[in-house]
Symmetry: C2
Subunit: 302 residues, 2 copies
């Protein structure tokens, strides 16, 4: 039995369009409607037949939905919620896919009083953006974290869980604040660091940008992938999860200072100890199926 019959997707970028494709594949009888604020994206979504109905307004997209998923940048969630409020069926469940959760939960509760809201965060993505970047298997084997409020309807949480399981995800239920702390370290800080180092490398005087690009296979290129992620999405993530990100950044800076000191004073044992310890983490990630087990992420070496 399907958890929902009519799903509305607001925001048709990488995640929204991946959900649409996955629903078409895994739950082909579900009716899909949706909207994107960008007319060019709506036109493209129409051209590739992403949904059954592409509406000109968010409100028109949700008119008869039983699940509405907001797939817009975190900073746009409140505004989109306000735009759908008048048209939303009373029994529709509202969810989202935002990378920070406490702020969104508050914004959705304020904009949609009385509505059943089950926030979600599928921990999955690529460096690409837009409706063409999505694909049906994006959520396979990835975790989808639900952060329902303490008084949330268990039946609604169950339905959203089942929906994501059908898209191939594993489900975890978590407190929104704890989610924001966990993701600050596993996702937000890595993106911030990657953006920073790519910026640093492109601003040097002694080393040209051409040299940085040419010799990037020494390690730098790894960071450029996540530093190519959607700028609007990530700006909003950092602003909305400010406290947790700043806390993790503080920890990172302290550890970096300690390592800097070890290099300056030639403390090879301190370096060796850390470098040995970090190897084990990689092994665990592979063992738990959270990364490609092939060497070098499976990059081709022909």
């Amino acid at each position: 039995m399907l958890p929902f019959a009519r799903v509305a997707i607001i925001g048709l970028g990488l995640i929204g369009s991946s959900i649409a494709r996955a629903v078409r594949q895994e739950m082909p009888t579900v009716r899909l409607s949706g909207h994107d604020a960008d007319p060019a994206v709506r036109a493209r979504a129409t051209a590739i037949d992403l949904l059954h109905d592409i509406a000109d307004t968010p409100g028109a997209a949700v008119l008869d939905a039983d699940l509405v998923i907001l797939c817009v940048p975190v900073g746009a969630m409140a505004s989109v919620a306000e735009q759908i409020a008048a048209d939303l069926p009373a029994d529709a469940i509202v969810s989202d896919v935002g990378s920070s959760k406490a702020g969104i939960a508050a914004a959705l509760a304020a904009a949609l009083p009385g509505q059943t809201v089950v926030p979600a965060h599928p921990v999955a993505g690529t460096e690409n953006s837009g409706p063409d970047a999505g694909f049906a298997t994006l959520f396979h084997g990835r975790w989808c974290i639900l952060t329902p409020a303490g008084d949330a309807d268990p039946a609604a949480v169950m339905r959203v869980s089942t929906f994501w399981e059908k898209l191939g995800a594993d489900i975890e239920i978590m407190d929104a604040r704890h989610h924001d702390l966990v993701l600050a370290v596993t996702s937000h800080l890595p993106h911030l660091i990657a953006y920073t180092i790519v910026g640093t490398a492109s601003d040097l005087e002694e080393v040209t940008q051409g040299e940085v690009i040419k010799y990037s296979a020494g390690g730098f290129r790894d960071f450029t992938r996540i530093a190519a992620s959607d700028p609007t999405m990530w700006r909003d993530v950092f602003l909305s999860n400010k406290e947790a990100v700043l806390e993790m950044l503080q920890r990172f800076s302290e550890d970096l200072t300690a390592l800097q000191r070890a290099i300056r004073w030639g403390d090879g044992d301190a370096l060796f100890d850390l470098f040995t310890r970090t190897r084990a983490i990689r092994r665990s990630i592979i063992e738990q199926g959270q990364d490609d087990a092939r060497t070098d992420f499976g990059r081709s070496h022909d």
Copy 2:
């Protein structure tokens, strides 16, 4: 015509064993000898028939070589050079594959007075170590940087260039000090940052190591790959290229502080501007064939 007839490889890890495999494939008439300080590695190299002769000492491995390539950690270069000095044929060319060059050049010149030395750095690798980690195509399409001294014999430089071209690499000649600055930003700083963030993430109290591993697909897992690189090799790189690494680290820290400030004060425009700029670098790297053009490094998404 082949640039060398008898090649000795000292150090049979990822790079040394990849050179051996590539030589066997591309220059099958070349006689390969070699040595590794670790008896277990020598035994394994013998078992997989990596070389024609595996000697019990570095000196015995180089006795009749016309090219000797030192593939040991940077900190072991001087000692290995001293160990081969007495047995080295007078006309043999000595090269290496170290990730920092100015210090090695000085160490080799001191240990091998009068010998022709052409230092090299193939900018290629994976997160794996040891004789089984190597493969023949590792250097395909990668840059190999040669850093000969100003008074180096041009014919010797040409022969080493030809050797690396036959292994599939593109050649660049560079001053050793400039090399060390360029690689500090394209390779050493990224590794240092990756090691640090993986250490930070595994030392938190509020977020468990299990959670870090579980939700690593949010970005963190990318950093764990290079943080799984060989600890001895990387300890030595940081200690030997101390000045350039500390300079790049200083730049990075300044930029990170600026970004931290932008987050704290909610300066979304500053974040958005940087995040937009960094996208272009990724595109250039792909266009120049220095990374896999496929989404997500080509990771499988089944």
